[in-house]
Symmetry: C2
Subunit: 340 residues, 2 copies
Amino acid sequence: MTSKKKKVSIYDIAQRLGVSASTVSRALQDHHSIGSEMKRLVRETAEEMDYKPNRVALSLKLGKNNAIGVLVPHINRNFFSSVIEGIEQEAAERGYDVLICQSNESYVRECQLLGALSQGKVDGVIASVAAGTRDVSHFNRLAQYGIPLVLFDRVSTEVPGVMTVTVDDYRGAYRVVEHLYEQGCRRIFHYAGPQHVSVWKHRLEGYCDAMRDLGLKVGRDWIVYGETIGREDGERMIRDILRMRQKPDAVFFTSDFVALGALVEMKKHGLSAPRDLAVAGFANEPFDEWITPSLTSVEQYSYRMGGLAAKMLIDKIDGETPADIVIEPRLIVRESSEKR
Amino acid sequence: MTSKKKKVSIYDIAQRLGVSASTVSRALQDHHSIGSEMKRLVRETAEEMDYKPNRVALSLKLGKNNAIGVLVPHINRNFFSSVIEGIEQEAAERGYDVLICQSNESYVRECQLLGALSQGKVDGVIASVAAGTRDVSHFNRLAQYGIPLVLFDRVSTEVPGVMTVTVDDYRGAYRVVEHLYEQGCRRIFHYAGPQHVSVWKHRLEGYCDAMRDLGLKVGRDWIVYGETIGREDGERMIRDILRMRQKPDAVFFTSDFVALGALVEMKKHGLSAPRDLAVAGFANEPFDEWITPSLTSVEQYSYRMGGLAAKMLIDKIDGETPADIVIEPRLIVRESSEKR
DNA sequence: GTGAAAGCGCTAACAA
DNA sequence: TTGTTAGCGCTTTCAC
């Protein structure tokens, strides 16, 4: 049976010392109007009584929480957990707590959580839009409450006052296509994600423009518009390809997971990349370099992205006006696409 | 220029309606003493004025935050982010916020963060001990403040009043050894992690006991006591093995990452699992089934673990006294160890 | 250099 | 059924 000590407040310290609470408060803040002898005394007593400031009271008084909310589609996805890790690192350094919640890609859940985040616990929000979200107006409420918002990766510019940090998906996709071209590929297909999501839209645009610039005409069935981006989608696409008369010599998948499914399915049919079909993905998931063949992909610097998003948000909270950030992605060529 | 509306409080509603704040407060809480007409009126006005309750004020008043703190070594590790996902899910369902922080495996950081978590923002803490931690007495402070603590995976029973949820590492390891034995392996080595960490200690014990029960004598250099558990460690161990006169026919690695390093290094030397050496890991990381050969491992049900930890903690906060939980692990046999 | 008092937004005794 | 009041723990004007 551990005796729960009652929490000690500045009043307890004040009483013990026979001074007023405000003196204690000031001493603890190293206020100039307090004598050094008094300061020492107060600090020692605080230490001795195991005093911990109550941050909730502080928040209420100051109207500042030193906390940011993070809203992501899923916590347990390498990309997002890596971003969160970056956020936490930066936030911790600047004395901020991080409150996380996940939308599970659901629009309804996202609305609820934004509601909860408007209830005064956080000074700002970092979010990435759920795949189920088409109308982003629920994000506006934050601005109405004066809560700054940073969107990362899956962003929307339709939210007034929003700040964004993104990777240049267009450039990343463009480079993938260039690379496949350099490997001798000409019939380059693309598995695209839902087009209401910014990143997948930009990757498709990068693909299209690169193809055009390279003088390659995109056939009518060269682009697959996926509803989801799971491994099964990649498997299905390979099966579909096997039934085609005119097969592609490369596929650029908008996600590593889809590409992974494709590689697995290819193996099942005795096909190998890049010999039978060059394959590239996007996101540089950790498994990319462990699988066989290793997977060509695009690094998004997710950890850095998180750090930048947090910095941006906290700077904004501190009254600055940070500019949007676009991170330059990096093409990482691996076995799945390197013809020699 | 968006006009930041000033936040509306119950006083604003009260004023508008010409009633007192307490009436509004009660109406909003659906208190029985308020007439249904009044309730309707208050609720409509609240809606109209876009009122959001201030949860910070609520916390201060009630001395309850509806928030739990989560302290893990790393956010961006599949195991931990999966646990966190489970925690968030359960917490959200029960109306709790989740505050995350990471110790980066550092003892000092863990101390600091526990200090921060004692500052009244959370009603309870879920944590997994940093690898750098040998003395766990810093966890005691939480109990002193009446903040319940659940430790998961890497636990310590030396913390008074602590609750734990773990996977039965001993059993998991035991089964791995049994399985390798059934595959015909007799010279089964073990790569162990730092022994001050509960999970690695228990896995080693499971290994030792299984070997004994199977009548296999463990040679003096069969157990490698690793300081770290990274891929490099696995690579190094393979190189060491290659220099041995009497080689093992199987290695049980206490971590999938070490096993992964081993498989990669083996490939480099033209060796393949399980033909030349059967390999098994622990944790069932997602990449286990994608790599070649796929890796035999032990599933820990991390997502469930998170949910259970959160349930346990919140039950405790609600005044119940939950019992410790031990999750039964599951051996997942894959190519790396299946002789046929 | 220090204290008294107000107040952040809310709830809950106590009164009426 | 409703209003008044105190107070959660802290900071900060204002007065001394």
